[in-house]
Structure formats: structure tokens, C-alpha cells
């Protein structure tokens, strides 16, 4: 009972309505429009579009994970691309092992790049990745372990602010350089690609693509609810308190290190899952996912959407990536100008992102409608009743 009421209180009644409507639209309407309508219909969603949306859903989960640690605990990680890529690599290793004898060299155990390097047996760290359950476990465990160790070192030494950002950025850069090396055994700069099957389904088939798309949407929804659970708990308020006045929290008797470590690890797991869902949809994972620029871009998504709101991160990921897809298709030469303009507009006019801007507008309209200004500030909390 207690748990049920706790879960129900994750969102206001309106919030739940919006959540469910969006979820149904995403996981039912889009696939239906893809499958049932003829290609010439204006409402037909082509399969490439479906895959593109699936990719955005993964980015949205990634942005959500960053918002958890940045928006709530105030620690800006500029290395989240590492967790995303590690999750992706774990999935990629499983997919490589599924290729079997269909590779160019037809080796049943070794992926092509290992045969090419004259390796004779599978390195120990590839063991077990022919099993989906093992790979799925590693998708979460590997990023979690890295986050735990890095976080333990950083938070215990009270590294905060820009120093934390620099350390995480250095971490992702170092990992990228390591993964570029062929001797690492992850395919060097080509990465892992040429996947054939996932769980026995042809990875190129329309049905598989729809399945991956729906899985991404469901996982994003679950990730959102888990994040909501954390931020609406007392621990969430401890995190916000850490963001506002870290040392004061210590004098209240909370372990700041443990609270941050917990949320950083959860965040890394979500990012890893996002990467694992991303890789089969785009068909490749290589070290460029760990380039420092990519990790900074994630922070841009969150900032554009509005940090510390969770759904702002999702909105931001869709907005920026949608714009990127549009510009790189329609007018590639303008994309970087647009990105630059977006930075300036956000910094100058939208410090709270799109979500903060919308809330401001709503408050302004409500203030005009009702003369009592105190009521407006409480409007959000009243929805809970």
C-alpha cells in the first residue's frame, strides 16, 4: 500500500495523464502509422524515420541520466559519453558474437578484426558475451563500476564544480584513446559493426527495428519513473541541498560522498542502457562516441531543455537532435551556425531552458488572469491534490 501510494505520487494527476498519453503515442501510434499506412500517405512514418526516433529516444535517456547528476546533485559530468559508449560496446560485443560464421573470414569464435590481427583465441574479457543475459548484465555493470570507482575517488576527495567536469572529461578522452588502439581488442577505430542478428531476429528487418524502437520507448519511460522516484524522495531533496550548500549537508549528518556516489552510479547505468539500445539501431559502435565533444553535447541537450526537471532533458534531446537532423539534411552549412545561435539564445534568454521558459510564460498568463500572485507560485504543487 505504502509503495503504491508512493508510486502514484511520483507525478500529479495531470502529470500521469500526460505521461501515459505520450507513452501510448510513442509506442503504439508511431509503429501503427509505419505498418498500416501505404507509403504514399502523408501520415505514413517511414522506417528510417522510426529508427531515427528510436535513436532520439536513446539520446533522451542519456540526457535524462545526465540531468540526474547535474540538474539535481549539481555535479556536471562531461564524461557521460563514456558510460553510453561502454554500454554500447557491451551490446556490440554480444552482436559481434552472434555473427558466427557469417563473417568475412567465417571464423565461428573470433570476430573478423581479431582474425585480421592474427589472434588465435578470444581474449578473456570477451568470454560470456555470446549470451544475451550476460551482455545485458555487463551493459549495466561496466558503466556502474567505472562510475563507482571514479566517483569514489572524486567525491571522497571533495572534488566539485569545474574540477569534477574536467576529470570526467579527461576520463572519457583517455578511454577514447585506449579504444582507438587495436591491441585493446575492441576493433580499434573501426569499432564493432556488420551486425546480423539480435536475439535471433534479423537486425535489418522492419519488425526488429520496430521492436528496438518500442523497447527504447519503454526503457525511457521506466528510466524516467526511476529518476522521478529518486528525485521526489528525501534523498532527492538531500541531493538538491548538496547542490545548494554542500558543506551544510555534511553538518546535518548526511554522507555527501555516498549520496553523490549513489546517483552518479545510477546515472551511469541509465547511460549504459541508452548506449546498448542505441548500438543495434545505428548498427555500429566506435570510439568516436567517446570524443569529448559528444559528451559536451549531452550537456547542451540538458541545458536547452532545462536542467533539474527530468522531462526538460528529454525535450532538449529531441529538440537539439531534431534540429541537427533537419539542418544536416536540408542545409548542412548552417548547422554549426544554428548550434552557436542556440547557445547564445539559451544563455541570454533561456537560462532555465525550454521548460523554465514555458513555466515563466504560464505564470505570466496566470498572473494576468488571477489577481492573487501568491496563488501562482503554488500552482504546481496544487496539481498534486
Amino acid at each position: 500500500m505504502l509503495l503504491m501510494s508512493r508510486l502514484a505520487s511520483l507525478e500529479s494527476r495531470r502529470g500521469w495523464q500526460v505521461f501515459l498519453i505520450l507513452l501510448v503515442l510513442t509506442i503504439v501510434l508511431v509503429p501503427v502509422l509505419n505498418l498500416t499506412l501505404p507509403p504514399e500517405s502523408p501520415f505514413h512514418v517511414p522506417t528510417y524515420m522510426l529508427s531515427l526516433l528510436g535513436k532520439y529516444l536513446c539520446f533522451a535517456l542519456l540526457a535524462l541520466s545526465l540531468d540526474l547528476i547535474w540538474g539535481y546533485a549539481g555535479a556536471l559530468s562531461l564524461g557521460h559519453g563514456a558510460f553510453f559508449a561502454l554500454g554500447g560496446y557491451c551490446m556490440g560485443m554480444y552482436l559481434m558474437r552472434q555473427i558466427g560464421t557469417r563473417g568475412v573470414y567465417g571464423n565461428p569464435d573470433l570476430p573478423d578484426f581479431m582474425v585480421f590481427l592474427n589472434w588465435t583465441e578470444l581474449p578473456w574479457y570477451w568470454w560470456g558475451f555470446d549470451q544475451f543475459w550476460f551482455a545485458a548484465l555487463m551493459v549495466m555493470a561496466v558503466p556502474a563500476l567505472l562510475a563507482y570507482v571514479l566517483g569514489w575517488l572524486a567525491f571522497r576527495s571533495r572534488i566539485t564544480g569545474v574540477y569534477f567536469s574536467i576529470i570526467t572529461q579527461a576520463m572519457v578522452f583517455a578511454l577514447m584513446l585506449a579504444f582507438f588502439r587495436n591491441e585493446m581488442g575492441f576493433g580499434g577505430n573501426n569499432g564493432l559493426t556488420d551486425f546480423k542478428e539480435i536475439l535471433g531476429f534479423n537486425i535489418q528487418a522492419q519488425g526488429t527495428r520496430i521492436g528496438l524502437y518500442v523497447a527504447s520507448a519503454v526503457v525511457l519511460a521506466l528510466g524516467y519513473l526511476i529518476s522521478r522516484f529518486i528525485v521526489t524522495s528525501k534523498l532527492g531533496r538531500v541531493l538538491m541541498a548538496i547542490r545548494d550548500a554542500e558543506s551544510r549537508v555534511r553538518f546535518l549528518g548526511y554522507s555527501v560522498t555516498n549520496a553523490k556516489l549513489f546517483v552518479f552510479t545510477v546515472s551511469a547505468i541509465l547511460a549504459g542502457i541508452a548506449g546498448a539500445l542505441y548500438v543495434p539501431q545505428v548498427g555500429i559502435i566506435n570510439p568516436s562516441e567517446m570524443s569529448p565533444g559528444n559528451s559536451i553535447e549531452i550537456a547542451v541537450w540538458v541545458a536547452v531543455g532545462g536542467r533539474g526537471t527530468l522531462f526538460g532533458a528529454i525535450i532538449g534531446a529531441f529538440t537539439v537532435n531534431g534540429a541537427k537532423s533537419f539542418f544536416t539534411g536540408a542545409a548542412p552549412e548552417f548547422w554549426l551556425f544554428f548550434l552557436g545561435a542556440l547557445f547564445i539564445v539559451c544563455t541570454l534568454f533561456l537560462p532555465q531552458g525550454i521548460v523554465g521558459f514555458a513555466a515563466q510564460m504560464r505564470a505570466r498568463i496566470a498572473r494576468k488572469a488571477t489577481p492573487a500572485p501568491e496563488e501562482v507560485g503554488n500552482a504546481a504543487s496544487k496539481h498534486r491534490a
Partner: protein, 273 residues
Amino acid sequence: MLRASTAPDTAELEPPVQATPIRTARQPAGSILYLDGVSVSFDGFKALNNLSLVINKGEMRTIIGPNGAGKTTMMDVITGKTKPDKGDVLFNAEVDLTKLDEAKIANLGIGRKFQKPTVFEHLTVFENLELALKTERGTFATLFFHLTGQQAKRIDEILGVIGLGDRRKEKAGALSHGQKQWLEIGMLLMQEGQLLLLDEPVAGMTDFETETTASLLLEIARDRSIVVVEHDMEFVRALGAKVTVLHEGSVLAEGSIDTVQADHRVIEVYLGR
């Protein structure tokens, strides 16, 4: 041995203080806080120099001293923010505070209010108190925490004591300076500490707010020990507690406010430069 059994009546029992640095062999027994020979230096500057201080259980003590006398450093040492170079810091005559970090010390029952009011501005007044509420502090216990009716009542009680009952749903950032100070005192009360350390609780307050704060402190001092660092002499007088004067990191004089104010060394320290 015999003296230990007498009631720790502070101001009256105090011998006419000759302001000799107090370094006699004191007994930690019966004390809530016992500092002996504590020294801290930062890059050669001695912030605390062989400081010895005993606060008895249930006592209220005010500490005054010119800028740089080591008042805030002393608070830092007690609460684990700064480790002393040498010396003993005992809580309840048995717990060595120099071995513990801030969170552990807080959980022992030592609460601290900072000079600048530090409340969590983006949380509501109620949520600020809820965070300070004495409960299990572990990360998972906090994640699955559920406020019971009794705990909510306790928060309401404290809201009444600090006079912020009607502002419970407001963001703490929207409070006035004085109200933030009270909220922070309320947070200390929620922690149910045995020892409260207050660093300049009335700095920047209006006269009316200062008066209110003095009576608030006298009320809460009934069932806990309190150490107040303060500059405002009127406020110190209003508290009517034993006064310790710090100077250059050690105790210069101790006694009632009148004794201390009449001490020529104290006058020299405050006026002589």
C-alpha cells in the same frame, strides 16, 4: 573529586578571574565539550594556540573576541571541518572528535549554525526542517524514507517555536535574513543535538529580531548545551551566560559579562589597537 559532585553553577562559582591563561589540569568528567591544548596553524599563522576550554552539560556559554581570535576556527575544529595539529577535543568526556568527519560528528549530536545563514534556498521551509529531522542518515534509508505522522507533528512543533508556521510551504530563499537565521536554529533543534554551536546568530538582525532570538535561545537552552559566538555585547548581556574571551587563539579571560568587561586586558585587546 569533591568538586565534581557539586552543581555546575557557572557564573556564581567562578573565582574572581585573574586573566591568566587557563591551563590547569582540568577533568573532562561531566563536561559536554572538553578542549585541551588545541593548536591549529595555517601556513605558520597560529589560528589556535594551546586553547583549552570546558563546557559543562546543560551550560550556555558565550564566546567573544576580536577578529582573528580563532572563534570560527574553534568551531571548525569541534565540528570536524579542521583537524587540529595537536591537542584533545572530547565530546561527552569520552568521544575523541579529532578522529571523526563532519557527518559523524553531526550524528553524535553536535549541531552547528554558520555565521552566514545557510539554509537550502530551493527547498521549502518544511523540507529544510525535514532534512534536519533526526532519522537514519544512510543513503538507502533516505531514498525510501517516509514521513510518519509523529515526525510531521514534531516539525510543526519546531515551526511554532521558530515562528515560521505560516511560511512552511515557501521556499527558504524567500525568507528574510532574520527568518533564515531562525530556520537554521530550527534545523539544529530538529537534529536534537545535545550541543549547539551558534556562530553570530544575530549578525545583521534588527533590534526586535535580536530580542526575539535571545528569548528563543534562552528557551531552547533549557534542555541542551549551547555555545554562542557573538560580537553584539547587548545580546551577550541579554543571554546572561558565562563569557569566555578569546584572543590570538587562546583564552584570555573567563567569567560573567561584567567581570570580563572590567578586565583591563580585555579592554586592551578590544580597544588597544
